[in-house]
């Protein structure tokens, strides 16, 4: 009896541990970096990972560009986008399973400039492609949108101090 209980607890513990580590590594593939100018940074969870042309991007990734830098990205639903200098964008959410009717994306721009040319998600599910900013959310029903989030006073001072 005790042996059984022990085995059961062990099995549950192992299963829980395995599934949680699986969940961590199974973020949705969002797209890839198509071109890079200057120095960019890719933040994944707590870590900065190497980023260059071809680097695959996953949900929750954050891209930052330096003062003279920029980056171009292609998403899995054929959305194309780019960031100008001193920008920060998070791939907050990305769901692209057209066969199952599961469609949606949220990109969050914290600062800088973003060019967004919509892909299939905005076409198949109008309004479900969203761009978040600190002052409002844009729901896109097709084609091209430009978004600017100017540096705040605090950010400008921090930039000068560098």
């Amino acid at each position: 009896m005790r042996k059984h209980q022990l085995a059961l607890i062990l099995a549950i513990t192992i299963t829980a541990a395995c599934s949680s580590s699986l969940a961590e590594s199974q973020e949705e593939l969002v797209g890839s970096i198509a071109n890079v100018k200057g120095t960019i940074h890719l933040l994944r969870g707590q870590n900065e990972v190497a980023a260059g042309k071809g680097t695959r991007l996953y949900a929750s990734d954050i891209i930052r560009t330096d003062a003279e830098a920029g980056v171009g990205v292609v998403l899995r639903d054929d959305t194309t986008l780019s960031l100008g200098p001193s920008s920060e964008l998070k791939m907050s959410e990305f769901k692209f399973k057209p066969d199952e009717g599961i469609l949606g994306m949220t990109l969050s721009i914290a600062k800088g400039t973003l060019v967004y040319i919509s892909g299939q998600i905005a076409k198949l599910a109008p309004g479900s492609a969203q761009i978040e900013t600190p002052a409002g959310v844009a729901a896109v029903r097709g084609t091209e949108l430009l978004v600017e989030v100017p540096a705040t006073k605090a950010e400008k001072q921090a930039e000068k101090a560098k």
Binding site: G70, S87, L114, V115, A122, A135, G136, E144
Partner: protein
């Protein structure tokens, strides 16, 4: 009296944030094909829809109504977004490569298409290429699953032979589950015996 009016105006203006930089600005512009879509911007205070070329709206704060939308000049757009616009990647391009029944050898008729794939990969120096394998419904579904993988692998081998890094290639395979032309079981359909190549 007049002077007081002006003072009030100035005070109102400052309170409304006339002199301040907006927290965020949105510009709807024509896409590369010239189409203008529609965007609705919403925050805690209001909602505004942009639907004209170069229409722009600014938000001062998340809890404050938007300023009235206006038309931006192309100079303003170029000044603010020129750096970013120069880095927009070309849209992904898709190709279909076809196969004979029950075979993972690329159909000779599809070799010119393979050359086009190669040209596209080289032209944009692509580091992200998807190879998605498919079959028609001839034969067992289990076998077709394997066959669709073999087909994708066959295209991969050809690309690698031509000097494309295997690191840039992503293979997915679907057997007979995603036909271009839906058919009954055990129907031969050349258009479904394919590898879809997406060059990004």
């Amino acid at each position: 009296m007049k002077c007081a009016n002006v003072m009030v105006l100035i005070l109102l203006c400052v309170a409304a944030g006339c002199a301040k930089t907006p927290r965020a600005s949105f510009y709807l512009v024509p896409d590369p094909e010239g189409r203008v879509g529609e965007v609705t911007v919403t925050n805690q205070a209001a909602s505004v829809t942009l639907n004209k070329a170069n229409e722009t709206v600014a938000a001062m704060r998340v809890d404050q109504a938007f300023k009235e939308s206006r038309m931006a000049t192309s100079e303003e757009i170029e000044t603010k977004f020129g750096d970013a616009l120069a880095l927009v990647p070309p849209p992904p391009k898709g190709f279909n490569i076809y196969f004979h029944t029950d075979s993972s050898k690329v159909d000779a008729d599809s070799l010119p298409m393979f050359e086009q794939v190669l040209a596209e990969v080289r032209q944009r120096d692509s580091h992200d290429i998807s190879l998605n394998g498919h079959t028609d419904r001839t034969g067992e579904a289990d076998w077709n699953m394997k066959l669709s993988l073999e087909r994708a692998n066959a295209v991969k081998v050809l690309l690698v032979e031509q000097g494309v890094s295997a690191d840039y290639l992503t293979i997915e395979y679907y057997g007979e589950s995603k036909p271009v032309i839906p058919t009954e079981d055990n129907v031969s359909e050349p258009k479904n015996r394919r590898v879809e190549v997406v060059v990004r």
